[in-house]
């Protein structure tokens, strides 16, 4: 266990320093999703369910191949299907594997008030520790990708773990292993960026996708999950992928300036009142005769 805590570089709601900062030589891991070769077979959805022993939920037909409208507390990985008409009239059936993006600067972790409920490992994986979760849902507010989902009965939030249990044993995540087309890749962030940029260039040079590119949003410090998109200038067509995601500014304001202001005000106030009492003391003893000057009897 002690070695495990050395792998933590960020902890939510934590007073003081973090045990694992600067202790590990690990590189950040990265999952590369090439939407241009995804066939929407859902092997990755099944692999995630199976590996994590997630219980089944009820689904119903909703005029789409998409399994359900959005991820759930017990469904962490979902292919989003979108029919998109391009300007030239051709139709694209876009399929994007949706799950936690494992941001370098996670909004969920920033917003979380509970000590140790959300951690970020030195390899970049952002993990929910349900034992420490208090069920407040602030992480839902902090996340720009609408990922954390709460179990309504137990009030704990869940999301993709980037198979941290597999990765820490040197295995690739379950979804990567199950992908039959090889559109999912796993490795260091550096290697995956290299692969992704190469693929995007190939698309620009040889296919009818002049705007193909890599999605690795800087607004959250870059992500542990990156995409190759046919059209990187329009991420929204891929089921609402935000074009320039960042931690909501009100969350940053709340955890930053407002908190400092409040702390200063409260401590200052306490000190101020104590000093006032030392200086002026109470108004008067209760039983003293204190007819106000100028008051008529």
């Amino acid at each position: 266990m002690s070695q495990a805590t050395l792998r933590i570089q960020k902890i939510s709601g934590h007073a003081g320093s973090v045990p694992g900062e600067d202790t590990q030589r690990e590189y950040t891991v990265c999952k590369l999703i090439d939407t241009t070769t995804c066939i929407g077979c859902k092997a990755c959805e099944v692999a995630c369910m199976e590996w994590n022993d997630l219980p089944f939920g009820e689904t119903f037909f909703d005029n789409t191949y998409q399994t359900m409208p959005e991820t759930r507390w017990n469904y962490w990985n979902l292919i989003l299907f979108n029919e998109h008409e391009r300007e030239d009239g051709t139709l694209m059936w876009l399929m994007r594997k949706n799950q936690c993006m494992h941001c370098a600067d996670p909004g969920c972790l920033a917003a979380c008030p509970a000590d140790g409920a959300i951690v970020q490992y030195t390899n970049g994986i952002v993990d929910f520790q349900q034992a420490n979760c208090i069920g407040c849902g602030y992480c839902i507010t902090g996340c720009p990708f609408d990922i954390p989902k709460m179990n309504p009965k137990t009030h704990r939030v869940f999301k993709c773990t980037l198979c941290t249990d597999r990765v820490s044993e040197g295995l690739e995540p379950a979804c990567i292993k199950s992908c039959p087309t090889g559109c999912l890749h796993f490795g260091s962030k550096e290697d995956m960026k290299f692969l992704a940029e190469g693929r995007a260039k190939q698309l620009r040079d040889h296919s009818n996708f002049p705007s193909a590119g890599v999605y690795d949003p800087p607004g959250v410090g870059g992500t542990g999950v990156i995409y190759v998109l046919h059209d990187a200038t329009k991420p929204e067509i891929y089921g609402g992928l935000p074009a320039d995601p960042s931690i909501p500014w009100t969350v940053k304001l709340w955890k930053g300036p407002l908190k400092w202001l409040g702390n200063v005000a409260m401590v200052g106030g306490l000190i101020g009142l104590f000093v006032h009492y030392l200086r002026y003391g109470p108004k008067e003893r209760e039983d003293e005769d204190i007819s106000p000057s100028g008051a008529k009897p």
């Binding site: 007073a15 008030p113 008067e284 003893r285 209760e286």
Partner: protein, 220 residues
């Protein structure tokens, strides 16, 4: 005497009836619980408070319910006292003279009624902040049920809730200071309900005159 029933057998003045006192302590108890658990959620340095109160998840679960109780108590106060809390001319003058009040020169203060301007400020402060806390609190309580398209409500609430809470904390600090340390006798008024005539004469002369009667008290 206009309100002879408010003069107790010992010659003291009844300031707060039983229902008012009970409501005050319901409000106080719920507020203190909200304050402590709220501070725990607000600052990692104080997070241990929530753990001490039955566990952090329990605190998170109970905090909104305490909030409802507190809000109920505040609304009861509104029902009871709103009419007496209206801004009057004497309040304007009171604020102009507030430096005397804060340096304990109460004799220089214009005669306050049942509630002085400071207390009215506290009342309305808690009233409006209470509403803000309730509305933002409900959004935060059920944030997982709010759809993505309405997320702006969450973004607003995470600012409004702590900001309003900080304002009430400011009011609360002054309220405790005044009630426990600065004004001797004030604390008893919400326990036993009565205050001495001197207390009444000194701090709420207008109200004292009302109770005791007589037109000899100058009206300003």
């Amino acid at each position: 005497m206009s309100h002879p029933e408010q003069v107790t057998p010992h010659g003291r003045i009844l300031r707060y009836k039983l229902n008012e006192r009970l409501n005050h302590w319901v409000a106080a108890a719920s507020y203190i619980y909200l304050l402590l658990t709220g501070l725990a959620f607000y600052s990692p340095w104080l997070f241990w408070i929530a753990a001490a109160f039955g566990g952090a998840a329990v605190s998170r679960m109970l905090h909104p319910w305490a909030g409802l109780i507190f809000f109920g108590a505040v609304m009861y106060m509104y029902k009871m006292w709103a009419a007496q809390m209206r801004h009057a001319d004497v309040d304007k003058a009171w604020w102009k003279a507030v430096r005397y009040y804060s340096t304990n020169q109460d004799d220089k203060m214009p005669p306050a009624g049942r509630y002085n301007a400071g207390q009215k400020f506290l009342f309305w402060g808690f009233f409006w902040c209470g509403i803000l806390l309730l509305l933002s609190g409900i959004v935060l309580w059920f944030s997982e049920y709010l759809p993505w398209s309405l997320r702006f409500l969450r973004y607003i609430s995470v600012i409004v809730h702590p900001a309003a809470a900080l304002l009430t904390i400011g009011l609360f600090l002054i309220h405790i200071y005044m009630g426990v340390f600065a004004e001797r006798g004030a604390f008893g008024s919400v326990i036993r309900g009565d205050v001495s005539r001197e207390f009444a004469k000194r701090y709420h002369p207008g109200w004292y005159e009302e109770i005791v009667g007589g037109s000899s008290a100058p009206r300003k």
